[in-house]
């Protein structure tokens, strides 16, 4: 990236409460036999033989998503934090969108009691700091939309 760009990191946070104990959520998230069944995303598949997890800090985190038209979207990164069953992070060194090439995603598994678990996905992305503050000031409808998205 050219140095003239004043870029900074921003995070997108997505939360979901699940009716399941934390250990189960962790297993479904980290076991390739399970990941192939839900990773997707919608309309995509992530074939089991294209998932390679070495579940430890610095270990390989590699998978390939296959689009509806058969196009492949490989993601080749490494695990950062591996703290079962509480926290997991992985870097996406290459993704389908080059803007999140250096993005890192952290997943927190929070126990809610009563065998419920909250999953918090925090994904880092790169964009200009000022864009967000400007968006929050409500400059145009597009920026409002952008601010809402970035604010989670």
């Amino acid at each position: 990236m050219n140095e003239q760009y004043v870029m900074s990191e921003h995070t997108i946070v997505i939360e979901r409460e699940l009716d399941a104990p934390r250990e189960l959520v962790w297993k479904v998230w980290t076991d390739p036999d399970e990941v192939t069944k839900w990773w997707g995303p919608e309309g995509f598949t992530t074939p089991r033989d294209r998932i390679e997890f070495d579940l430890r800090p610095g270990g390989v985190c590699r998978l390939t998503m296959v689009g509806p038209d058969g196009e492949e979207y490989p993601s080749d990164g490494h695990f950062g934090i591996v703290e079962p069953p509480e926290r997991l992070s992985f870097g996406e060194e290459s993704t389908d969108h080059p803007m999140i090439e250096s993005g890192e995603t952290t997943i927190e598994f929070v126990e809610l009691g009563g065998d419920r678990t909250k999953v918090v996905v925090t994904s880092r992305m790169v964009c200009a700091e000022e864009l967000v503050s400007m968006a929050k000031a409500g400059w145009t409808s597009q920026l409002d939309q952008l601010a809402a998205l970035l604010a989670g």
Partner: protein
């Protein structure tokens, strides 16, 4: 690196400067404005204003008219929409993914209950 990313980078970079944001705000309020009119409220030379406009134009945030020296500028929302759309898509991917995770977990639990 694909063009789409370069374009987004240009957009974000163009928006990172306070003078350029002020120029965009002015264009958002007033529609088409000439360089002279744009320069008026700023303690900057016409040359400096032109330079900022060039950055905004390259990022696709504004379009410039062709009327000789005046070259009136106009806001173009498409670049901003592109940036917003990209984040929206990214969020949707994750929302969909968590839907599928929840479904898979329910499936496992149902199976466990059936087996008991």
């Amino acid at each position: 690196m694909p063009t789409a990313t370069d374009h987004l980078s240009l957009t974000f970079a163009a928006l990172a400067d306070p003078t350029r944001r002020a120029l965009l705000e002015r264009l958002a309020d007033d529609g088409e404005v000439t360089v002279n009119e744009l320069a008026d409220p700023f303690p900057l030379t016409l040359q400096a204003i032109s330079k900022h406009l060039k950055v905004l134009e390259r990022a696709g945030l504004i379009t410039r008219g062709r009327s000789a020296q005046l070259r009136p500028a106009r806001l173009d929302g498409a670049s901003l929409r592109e940036a917003a759309d990209w984040i929206e898509r990214y969020r949707e991917v994750w929302e969909g993914r968590l839907d599928r995770l929840a479904l898979r977990i329910r499936e496992i639990q149902r199976k466990a209950t059936d087996d008991e």
